[in-house]
């Protein structure tokens, strides 16, 4: 890139200083230009194309045309609302499970690990070292019919309860909602644990001592001191889990059945197999709107706006 802010020919003599500062003022723009341009063309512009596609009608052979056919949104919602509700439900459940499972581990690493801290942190990140699709496929083995896990759950009569709730079917776990939620929880746990750990680790240990000195029980200390102070971690952890989980279709495809399809599966098959672009674009747009809305409301309510 060449800097083209060559100064005009005739200028007063005292200019070197001001010329330099004018060039300096342009520096941030040159630094920003390529990256921002990239994001504008390949992130923002596609959103506009997608919005336009969602109100087009036509067919693959004759081509699509913008006809402001907003009906597509209504029809897409009417046909695919089960998948929509399912996505939000599965993603919500997985997020909650991640928080419940992840918090003790983050707490353990932050306060109780001592010299094991680095090792535990590495172990949290370690799953990332193997491709996530391979690891998700491993759950097919772990949850296999007649396998050890399913056998144990069956012997403990857990499966009776979960099938009564509709989470599993008979003595199967694979191809049920429970398998999908289990996979989602597994896949996004590190995204919950790392922000939780970061905010817990910042807590001054003396606050715990102070709470103890003031006769607070461990439970009260946690409720009144530790948990409130870890809120930034809870908020960013839940966002980092819920957002990708709501649009995921890998877990539902690999671990679920046709009854556990999420909205991501619909968008994927409409786009790549059915080739009904307007419906797919409309669904994707609705998903984006719903997620952004929920995120905004959540951040407002949780009161940590300086998240980014």
């Amino acid at each position: 890139m060449t800097v083209t802010d060559a100064p005009p020919a005739a200028e007063p003599a005292d200019l070197p200083v001001r010329k330099a500062s004018a060039r300096k003022r342009l520096v941030p723009y040159w630094l920003l230009l390529p990256g921002i341009l990239w994001l504008l063309v390949f992130f923002a512009l596609p959103m506009i194309y997608q919005a336009s596609t969602s109100v087009q009608t036509g067919s693959l052979e004759k081509g699509f045309e913008v006809t402001w056919h907003f009906q597509t949104y209504w029809e897409a919602l009417k046909e695919y609302y089960p998948q929509f509700v399912r996505s939000l439900l599965y993603a919500g459940t997985a997020t909650l499970l991640c928080l419940l499972l992840g918090y003790p581990l983050a707490y353990l690493i932050a306060f109780k690990a001592g010299r094991w801290r680095t090792l535990l942190l590495v172990l949290v990140i370690a799953p990332f070292f193997t491709s996530f699709l391979i690891r998700t496929l491993a759950w097919k083995t772990i949850l296999a019919d007649g396998g050890a896990v399913v056998g144990a759950l069956d012997a403990l009569h857990v499966l009776d309860v979960t099938s009564w709730l509709g989470w599993t079917e008979g003595n199967r776990v694979l191809a049920t909602p429970m398998a999908v939620v289990c996979g989602l929880t597994y896949n996004f746990l590190p995204f919950m644990i790392l922000p939780l750990y970061t905010s817990l680790e910042r807590i001054d240990g003396r606050l715990h001592e102070a709470a103890k000195d003031l006769y607070a029980s461990p439970a009260t200390t946690f409720r009144k001191v530790t948990f409130p102070l870890s809120m930034p971690g809870v908020v960013s952890g839940t966002l980092l889990t819920f957002i990708p989980a709501s649009g995921d279709y890998v877990n539902a495809e690999l671990l679920g059945s046709t009854d556990t399809k999420m909205v991501g599966n619909v968008i994927q098959s409409q786009f790549l197999r059915v080739l009904d672009y307007p419906t797919a674009a409309a669904l994707s747009f609705i998903l984006m709107a719903v997620v952004l809305l929920m995120v905004t409301v959540y951040i407002r309510r949780a009161g940590t706006e300086d998240l980014v």
């Binding site: 390949f42 992130f43 003790p104 491993a138 994707s284």
Partner: protein, 264 residues
């Protein structure tokens, strides 16, 4: 009983850790399996066949090379563009800062499938041929924000007086940047680059939409889940895991040694 209650957090935490590690162990163990059918989901008997011939499956190693290439270029692109943005954000004043901040934040707050689908509509409308280039463009796009975040954190914690000191000692702007600024920012840039590499190498959803008939490694695994999973997938997964662990351990040793030499 009392012991359990006192150590409840430790027990719960370790159980979670077990839940997170279990699939890795399964992947590793099943790399020594000799399945009877097309799928490698149930244990049959021990065998080293797959380890002796990791590229024995058609297209597997080709997809791996392709993924490594794309990840390398995407890392280079995203790190260069992202580092420039991070410096501009921390060091300079300019207009439309809020808009630029949200443009960088939004890709991280968007379900991947939405970005993937919208990018595909762009490519379809422009009549672009899906393949290596569209995947690379997409990867640079979504890695960019993560690099900016990583580098920004580091640059923000840098003391600007170090650079002022360099200037006072008659270092030119280029010399100051190369010999003072860059070395201090390097850990942040390296963290961003590593993150970009990992994200790009393991990306599936965006690649699935924008790759056309190009097959990256995650795409190969996805396809094999339908056609039959060769044991070699587990071999490569395990090898990746071991290499990554070795890199981490080596890094730890180097930092420890540096600390020790710094104190003596």
């Amino acid at each position: 009983m009392r012991w359990i209650r006192r150590n409840l957090v430790v027990i719960a935490g370790l159980l979670t850790l077990a839940y997170m590690i279990l699939p890795n162990i399964v992947v590793m163990v099943f790399s020594f399996n000799k399945p009877t059918g097309r799928f490698n989901y149930s244990w049959q008997r021990f065998s080293l066949d797959a380890w002796k011939d990791p590229c024995g499956v058609a297209d597997l190693c080709g997809s791996l090379t392709l993924s490594l290439q794309i990840a390398a270029w995407a890392t280079l692109g995203a790190t260069a563009l992202g580092t420039m943005i991070a410096f501009a954000l921390v060091r300079y004043r300019f207009r439309a800062r809020g808009a630029i901040n949200s443009l960088i934040f939004l890709p991280m707050a968007m379900p991947e499938v939405v970005m993937a689908a919208s990018l595909l509509t762009l490519f379809l409308n422009m009549g672009a041929e899906l393949g290596f280039w569209t995947v690379l463009i997409a990867h640079i796009m979504f890695c960019l924000s993560f690099v900016v975040t990583a580098v920004k954190a580091r640059v923000m914690s840098m003391d600007p007086r170090l650079e002022e000191a360099a200037r006072d000692l008659y270092a030119g702007p280029v010399q100051t940047f190369v010999r003072v600024t860059l070395p201090i920012a390097a850990p942040g840039i390296a963290a961003g680059a590593l993150l970009a590499f990992a994200l790009s190498f393991d990306d599936f959803i965006i690649t699935n939409f924008n790759a056309g008939s190009t097959v990256t490694f995650p795409m190969f695994v996805w396809g094999s889940a339908q056609r039959g999973t060769p044991v070699q997938i587990n071999v490569i997964g395990t090898a990746m895991f071991i290499i990554a662990v070795l890199v981490v351990v080596a890094g730890q040793i180097v930092t420890n040694r540096r600390k020790r030499t710094a104190t003596t």
